[in-house]
């Protein structure tokens, strides 16, 4: 049971320093940037679809998609890369960029294998979309944040929902069978920043939030969405057993996720 004295306030309430005009700002940090494997690549890159994986199930599945080509990485300067392996690994704290091509269609995938603060999300979204990468359509795969969900939710439930930009809603949606995220609940962080950026830039985009945050059943749902709706015409396969391995991946290990261990 949480300690009522020290537990975090509910998300609609403020910490005192959030309401203080004179709280000093955080020290400035260098801007994030995209590093392409081939520096002579023609930019901006203009994929027909840009998939950004944030949730554990999507990271796991897109890591196992083939065929795909590593084309670069997204660098957040404050995230140390020490301890990352030479070949892409799910254990790395990295955000690799991959290209999947088929029949003239190009899909770029970004696998965000580190967590980012909400305060940093705006800068990341601005760098990722609309500068070196100008996609026709964006799909963001994130998780429901239970602290921001105003309905009844339990780890026994498994579902996925969506939010879309106005221009995505005007046409045939990418994810046809999902219900909309209910009014009154919100999504914050990187997924929200990315969808917001797409809305302002008039880009077709969908934010798919799944629940629970990890596990075999939710991984199966996301795998289904990827193979049947998103990548159905791309001749790809996902070399992963959604039920068994997805169950193992994504559970937070507080010790191994610490920056002390590299």
């Amino acid at each position: 049971m949480e300690d009522v004295l020290t537990e975090l306030p509910p998300p609609s309430r403020f910490f005192l320093e959030e309401l203080n005009n004179f709280t000093p700002p955080a020290p400035p940090v260098p801007s994030p940037f995209i590093l392409l494997s081939n520096p002579t690549s023609k930019t901006p890159l203009q994929p027909s679809l840009f998939i950004i994986a944030i949730s554990a199930p999507s990271l796991y599945l897109l890591h196992h998609v083939s065929p795909k080509t590593l084309i670069g990485t997204f660098i957040l300067p404050e995230v140390p890369s020490s301890g990352n392996s030479v070949e892409p690994s799910l254990k790395d704290k990295s955000c690799n960029l991959y290209n999947i091509s088929h029949g003239g269609k190009s899909v770029i995938v970004a696998n965000f294998q580190y967590s980012v603060s909400s305060e940093r999300s705006h800068a990341i979204a601005k760098t990722l979309i609309g500068q070196q990468i100008i996609p026709e359509r964006v799909l963001i795969l994130d998780s429901v944040q239970s602290r921001n969900f105003r309905g009844r939710i339990s780890t026994d439930d498994t579902f996925a929902m969506k939010l879309e930009t106005s221009v995505e809603r005007k046409g045939i949606p990418l994810l046809k069978k999902l219900n909309y995220f209910p009014s009154g609940s919100v999504v914050e962080g990187l997924g929200a920043a990315l969808l917001g950026r797409c809305q302002m830039k008039n880009i077709k985009a969908t934010l798919c939030v799944s629940w629970p945050e990890s596990g075999g059943s939710v991984t199966s749902i996301v795998k289904d969405l990827l193979l049947k709706d998103v990548l159905s015409d791309m001749e790809v396969k996902i070399d992963a057993d959604g039920e068994a391995e997805g169950l193992k991946f994504g559970h937070t290990n507080h010790y191994l996720d610490s920056e002390l261990y590299t």
Partner: protein
């Protein structure tokens, strides 16, 4: 801060009064703006993109059967029939960036031709120094009409000027100089002495916004009510009604089912789901 106009929409010249919330205890200003947007049937005209606001997204907060229309952190609504522009803010400001954010808002207000700014905020009931049992749900105000913060129209409406406002007090003066761009926030000289009770009010977001709008030469009125954390919906009604009085509107004309007011759809779950009755 960038203003992104929605496709097919434009700003109305006649909407010269801007109402917006200041982040405060109980989110009362934000709840009041929700009520005003829903009740005036204001239409969204655009989004404000500011790096100092924490990103968030959600489904439409107002329509009874939401169809997936996105809600973003900072949105501008207009109601030409009420001559009002309303800005709703749905997420916090990045720590330490409140003054920068307030300056950006003031720049937007000037660029879009606003004449009168009404800031809605609550104050912590625990800080209420003088318990006035006759005043009930008293509305307090702060205006730049007069140097001492007073305004005749607000007095006639029965409101009390916030007596803790002293333009010569060190933090109020410091805010003014920050708002005018005459000093950077690195200057720590106002904080050399221990902070006292009188330093609480100028430290609040409404004070930063008041100072920044004032620095731009705009007429600005802050409407304030004391409250505690809890069910702050009644406080929101109270503050929204005060805003209507100042703007010359009457809630009866809104034609909603709650004394004219229209309850936003998203309020159905504002305090989470109802208790699980299967326990009983």
């Amino acid at each position: 801060m960038e203003f992104n106009l929605e496709a097919g929409k434009h700003l109305y010249d006649e909407c010269s009064t801007l109402i917006l919330p200041a982040l405060s205890i109980g989110n009362v200003g934000q709840l009041a703006v929700d009520l005003l947007v829903a009740s005036t049937k204001a239409e969204r005209v655009g989004y404000l993109d500011d790096p100092n606001v924490v990103p968030c997204v959600g489904n439409d907060a107002y329509t009874p059967t939401p169809q997936g229309d996105l809600a973003l952190p900072l949105e501008a609504y207009e109601s030409p029939s009420s001559a009002l522009t309303l800005i709703q803010q749905r997420s916090p400001v990045v720590k330490g960036m409140m003054i920068e954010f307030a300056k950006n808002l003031a720049d937007f207000a000037v660029a879009s031709g606003k004449k009168h700014i009404i800031i809605l905020s609550s104050l912590d009931f625990g800080r209420w120094q003088t318990v006035d049992m006759s005043s009930g749900l008293q509305i307090y105000y702060l205006s730049n009409t007069n140097v001492d913060g007073s305004d005749e129209k607000c007095e006639k409406l029965g409101w009390k000027k916030m007596k803790e406002y002293d333009p010569n007090q060190k933090l109020w003066k410091y805010l003014s100089t920050l708002a005018e761009g005459n000093v950077t926030q690195d200057d720590t000289s106002p904080f050399e002495d221990d902070l006292g009770e009188e330093d609480y009010y100028p430290s609040l977001p409404f004070a930063a916004m008041f100072s920044c709008f004032k620095a731009k030469g705009l007429k600005v009125t802050c409407l304030l009510c004391y409250c505690s954390e809890g069910d702050n919906i009644p406080d929101a009604f109270h503050l929204a009604e005060a805003a209507c009085n100042l703007a010359g509107l009457t809630p009866d004309t809104f034609k909603g089912s709650e004394g004219g007011w229209v309850i936003p759809f998203s309020w159905q779950s504002v305090y989470g789901p109802p208790p699980d009755m299967s326990l009983f």
